[in-house]
Symmetry: C2
Amino acid sequence: MNEFELIARLTRTLPTAECVRVGPGDDCAVLDLGLASEFVLFKTDAVVEGVHFTASTPPAKIGRKALGRCLSDIAAMAGRPACALVTLALPRQFDAAFIEAIYDGLNTLAQNHAVAIAGGETTTNPDRILVSIAMLGLVAKDRCVLRAGAQPGDAIFVTGELGGSLAGKHLDFEPRLNEARWLAGNFPVHCMIDISDGLAGDLPHLLAANALGAELLARAIPVSAAARRAAATLGAKPPLLAALTDGEDFELLFTVAGRDAVPLIDAWKAQFPGLPLSCIGKVTETPGLRLRTEHAVEPLTAPGYVHFAGN
Amino acid sequence: MNEFELIARLTRTLPTAECVRVGPGDDCAVLDLGLASEFVLFKTDAVVEGVHFTASTPPAKIGRKALGRCLSDIAAMAGRPACALVTLALPRQFDAAFIEAIYDGLNTLAQNHAVAIAGGETTTNPDRILVSIAMLGLVAKDRCVLRAGAQPGDAIFVTGELGGSLAGKHLDFEPRLNEARWLAGNFPVHCMIDISDGLAGDLPHLLAANALGAELLARAIPVSAAARRAAATLGAKPPLLAALTDGEDFELLFTVAGRDAVPLIDAWKAQFPGLPLSCIGKVTETPGLRLRTEHAVEPLTAPGYVHFAGN
């Protein structure tokens, strides 16, 4: 049993309740706690030393990343963050200045997005630092965007640029909260996710509910300068493959009806002139991911990545 | 700087917001998210292998304990739990059956208290298992009981029996949710906490806000059979000291006005005949904890424990 099979098995038997509108499997849990016009969004996310950051990562960036990941999940539902709790699990011999610096990074990002840090706890994790964030947000009931909802013919969009995040962006990314709320407030967004596992890893989550597929246009995929730089290293991924698979981009991936694509692009440019928005392909009735290059349309599957990488 | 000084320093600079009614320093954060008659309670708590359980702890009990600790904190505010997220941080080589058993224990306790498990995440903690629970609850605005609120002359009560939890209760305790809601619904409870650090460790949290003290009656403190059994071991704590300091009791500690003490005892016996409720002393204007024995009234301070233990 691999991790995904285990998760599938575990989530089938979880106790639920009437207040849970969306449970496991979306960017946040969606709860109806009785507010007239809003759902409560609920999310946890942890970063672990040696996995999500290293012993040499500046501590302010650890705090920033830990909170930013949760904020990115609130963004993916078009919500606004309200309040977070911080779980700091530390070796017994902690360096107080290091911990304060983790909080400095976390608090600064929280203040930028008007998020309260309402407490949390410190506990012991003898071998390494672990920071887990629990986040509450709110979203208007008629503007909550889920992962499910893609339709054949939808235009697929992505914000920002993809790939090469490990060079630095994974510690410094801006959660796309304002952009997501503007999107949901101005266009009928069919579905949305934040890209944490790479475009090719997360796009299937938008297609799975309706057993759809997608055709991506290779030259439309916004490859980051960091991915291009990394590709210059011997044996490194080609830049396009990096953009498809690197992960930790924390950009928004979403679809709108084909007819909304051009009005969206125009309105976006006026609203967010500093942030690229790219239409990278379309949703298809045929399942699976395909990549259209100048020469051909190739299937983009897990083994496909390897094939593609060798091109 | 010790851990408590660090926490004090960190919490002074945390960003807050209008929705936060009670931030760090109580059993849960108390949030006003706009519900007419209820506050939202928000809490996280983690258990770590080698700290809160061992490699030989039955996995169902790990799950049960992880969730139970959060439920006990909801109880301490007289709230009702609604929904939890589970963060499971695991070594890379995980045993699927072990993880499923953790969830079995957790789900069973959740079902007993009508708590939904709305998702969570699995992540990697290479050296040991860590289970962190994020919990949401609700409480009527006029029945939310805080740690602050003790008055001189208050009678101090504790549910159940104390001490010796490590012999088994720390994995099997029943969070006192029903009892706490009944209390807050039927008596003006001035303040409440769940005992996690031992009676002598947690009672000061009820007294600190108004710089009060307490006099405890030694023979009234409900010493558990487990604490008495443990005391038979050479060099072990005397049973009363165990009841005062062992921790992980997860019983309710609260105060009511002196005039409510007898009516409360009578009503409790009728409502919860199977669970002892003990009036263990009174709140005093004189700060500090004191213990009245047959022979004397002795100060009960951190060094005092050592003195007392030698008696």
